[in-house]
């Protein structure tokens, strides 16, 4: 079993309101209900009959070896895969009342409610302020003062305000990688999403930036439902409440992080989390 790191945010594992160990079903409301979900690229089936109930205001980690379909699932939650010409999906995925996969679903509105943070920090070649104000300007008509307040709120929320408050008009590309990623998170939450999708948000960052982003994720879960894809199992164990283990396009096991990492039901899960393969 994996030794728990000491640097874990103090309450992340012990204080979870999760529970029911026996069936490992969480007792909080479901934010994203995925049922019999299948995803394809052309004729290649990337995901087979995925069923997950992603809980509200919790961090759900998707773990598994490369090419197992974690990112595919993540990118379907806000239909980012619409841009991939050959991608299609079947089955059920709903966000509250909204059927995510329906043709009639307005992806513009969906993506406003379901923000995404990418693997590599991708700030626009604009100022820090304009980066964060980008989303609000797309969707809302706001006065300057309102916008200023919203930008400050978002940057504070993303724990990067103190570092950038004196250089809001400077290009965002001049920031360090970790700062850029936090500005990207600020940019995403500025549009007011309910769900945050994170696709390996720390994989391009150094350990110190990683730990600051992890702290941030831990704080953000009080307001947002967070789904995070990660290759780093320590990270999954540090930041997540729930954990889904993917292998070859299938969910092998889904349960509380505690249970997945300490008492996995499946042999494959155990092998993966203990580092026997992957």
């Amino acid at each position: 079993m994996l030794p728990q790191r000491v640097s874990i945010p103090p309450n992340s594992l012990s204080n979870k309101p999760v529970v029911g160990d026996a069936d490992s079903k969480p007792d909080f409301p479901t934010a994203i209900d995925i049922d019999c979900f299948r995803a394809f690229y052309g004729s290649y089936q990337a995901l087979h009959d995925i069923s997950l109930a992603i809980p509200e205001n919790r961090v759900t980690a998707l773990i598994g070896p490369s090419g197992c379909g974690k990112t595919t699932l993540l990118r379907w939650i806000n239909r980012m895969n619409d841009i991939v010409p050959t991608a299609r999906a079947e089955g059920k995925m709903s966000l509250g009342e909204l059927n995510v996969l329906a043709k009639s679903t307005d992806v513009v509105d969906l993506r406003r409610r379901v923000g995404i943070v990418f693997q590599k920090p991708n700030p626009f070649p604009k100022s820090i302020y304009d980066n964060v104000a980008y989303g609000p300007r797309l969707h809302l008509r706001m006065s300057r003062t309102e916008l200023d307040e919203l930008v400050e709120w978002s940057l504070r929320k993303a724990a990067v305000w103190d570092e950038v408050k004196d250089r809001l008009r400077k290009p965002a590309l001049g920031l360090s990688g970790g700062q850029q990623q936090r500005v990207c998170i600020a940019r995403t939450i500025a549009t007011g999403p309910r769900v945050l999708l994170m696709d390996e948000p720390c994989s391009a960052l150094d350990p110190i930036s990683t730990s600051s982003i992890e702290d941030l994720i831990y704080e953000l879960r009080e307001q947002y439902t967070i789904v995070i894809v990660t290759h780093n199992m320590q990270q999954a164990s540090r930041v997540s409440d729930m954990c889904a283990f993917f292998y070859q396009g299938r969910v092998i096991e889904f349960g509380t992080t505690d249970q997945i990492f300490t008492r996995p039901d499946q042999k494959q899960t155990e092998d993966y989390v203990t580092g026997k393969f992957g």
Binding site: I83, F118, L138, T191
Partner: protein
């Protein structure tokens, strides 16, 4: 693993101390130096060519270069000849060309790069367009001249003869007569092809100053009036007038005829593929992650193009566009087909006016037998090259000024 086994012990011995005779180290270095020298020489060749060209042109043409050369029009006398109307003609044509080709080219590139369809039929259609554009880029420019002539100048004959346009605004037709007092009289006419009205006393005509006067017509065998004032408005019954046209600045007609607009649109055809391909390449150079970032926040495709992709691609697009424009300025063949080599004495004043461009004027001078005209041609080339080089300098300036790191 199996491959490993096949390696015999004998080979191990042979290759362990990198077997075989050593190639001479000094020889390899010498070859290296020779190759570098060879590459330097080929690179210098282009510099030499440019230098020779500039020296030849400047030694021949610099003497004739003056302000007067820039403003005066072509002449039978080499010392009076100037490039004025051709310079202005080039500017007009390039203006038309830029105003039409930039929006069309950039919009096409955005369509091809940013709005890739998902449906199979549309994808096929998309690649069909792409293939066509690549093919168009390889079409010789003289062919575009023919297209311009049929499609723009004659408009496939749909609107009749270009000299008698079906539709026109901003044109006034007159029959021009010379009165007995040697004054010019202009009698208004309906249009280019209307019958010449019978000359009658009392018909209203305009003098060359634009004043309306009533004309006096004398019949067969009648005496010419003695009074100078009457003689100035007197025409003979059988005088023949010439139909002339006076244009407003907004003169427009269908078919377009062999005017500035036709020339500009034809050059647009020539450079459109270049602009589209350059724009596509600079759009493609914008990292995909930026588009995803924008789309992921709920931007529509147009908002993404407008706020993220296009601003990042603009430096590249502008550079490509300016280089395409300098191609258009230097293009002679299609314009030759559109307007031929005719004497143009004044700058164009409307989009339908006939025109000449610098390369054509230079060509005209260069084909004259006299050496004096060859010097004039060289002077013309100096003007053309200065315009081209300043275009290129603009492109470089814009590129250096606006290019920012994108990732």
């Amino acid at each position: 693993m199996n491959d490993r086994k096949d390696l015999s012990k004998r080979d191990d011995d042979r290759f362990a101390d990198s077997g075989g005779d050593h190639r001479s180290l000094a020889g390899r270095h010498r070859l290296d130096r020779i190759f570098v020298r060879f590459c330097q020489a080929t690179a210098m060749l282009s510099v030499v060519i440019l230098a020779v060209m500039l020296v030849t042109i400047f030694s021949q043409g610099l003497r004739g270069f003056s302000w007067q050369f820039l403003t005066s029009s072509a002449s039978a006398d080499p010392s009076d000849a100037g490039i004025g109307p051709a310079l202005f003609g080039s500017m007009w044509v390039c203006g038309v060309c830029a105003l039409t080709s930039l929006p069309i080219g950039i919009a096409t590139a955005i369509f091809l790069e940013e709005f890739k369809p998902r449906a199979r039929l549309m994808r096929w259609f998309h690649s069909f367009i792409q293939l066509n554009i690549s093919n168009l880029a390889g079409v010789p420019s003289v062919v575009y001249g023919i297209i311009g002539l049929t499609a723009f100048a004659n408009m496939f004959g749909m609107f009749g003869d270009p000299n008698q346009p079906t539709f026109e605004i901003g044109a006034h037709y007159y029959d021009q007569y010379v009165s007995k007092g040697n004054r010019i009289l202009l009698i208004p006419a309906e249009n280019a092809g209307s019958p010449v009205p019978e000359l009658k006393t009392g018909l209203v005509a305009y003098t060359s100053k634009g004043e309306p006067v009533k004309i006096n017509v004398i019949g067969r065998g009648e005496e010419t009036p003695k009074d100078k004032a009457i003689r100035a408005v007197t025409l003979k019954w059988n005088d023949e007038g010439g139909r002339i046209i006076e244009n407003e600045w907004y003169y427009f007609r269908f078919p377009l005829g062999r005017g500035v607009l036709t020339g500009g649109l034809t050059l647009m055809l020539v450079i459109l593929p270049i602009i589209i391909i350059a724009s596509q390449e600079s759009l493609r150079a914008v990292p995909y992650s930026l588009r995803e970032g924008s789309l992921g926040m709920g931007a529509t495709q147009w908002q993404t193009v407008q706020n993220v992709t296009l601003p990042s691609a603009i430096p590249g697009i502008m550079t490509g566009a300016i280089l395409a424009m300098s191609r258009a300025i230097g293009e002679a063949a299609p314009v030759l087909i559109i307007c031929g080599i005719v004497y143009i004495g004044s700058n164009p004043s409307s989009l339908m006016d006939s025109f000449s461009v610098m390369p054509l004027q230079i060509f005209d001078w260069a084909q004259q037998p006299s050496d004096d005209f060859h010097a004039v041609a060289a002077t013309g080339i100096i003007v053309l090259l200065s315009v081209l080089l300043s275009f290129n300098a603009c492109a470089v300036y814009i590129r250096n000024r606006t290019q920012k790191p994108l990732t």
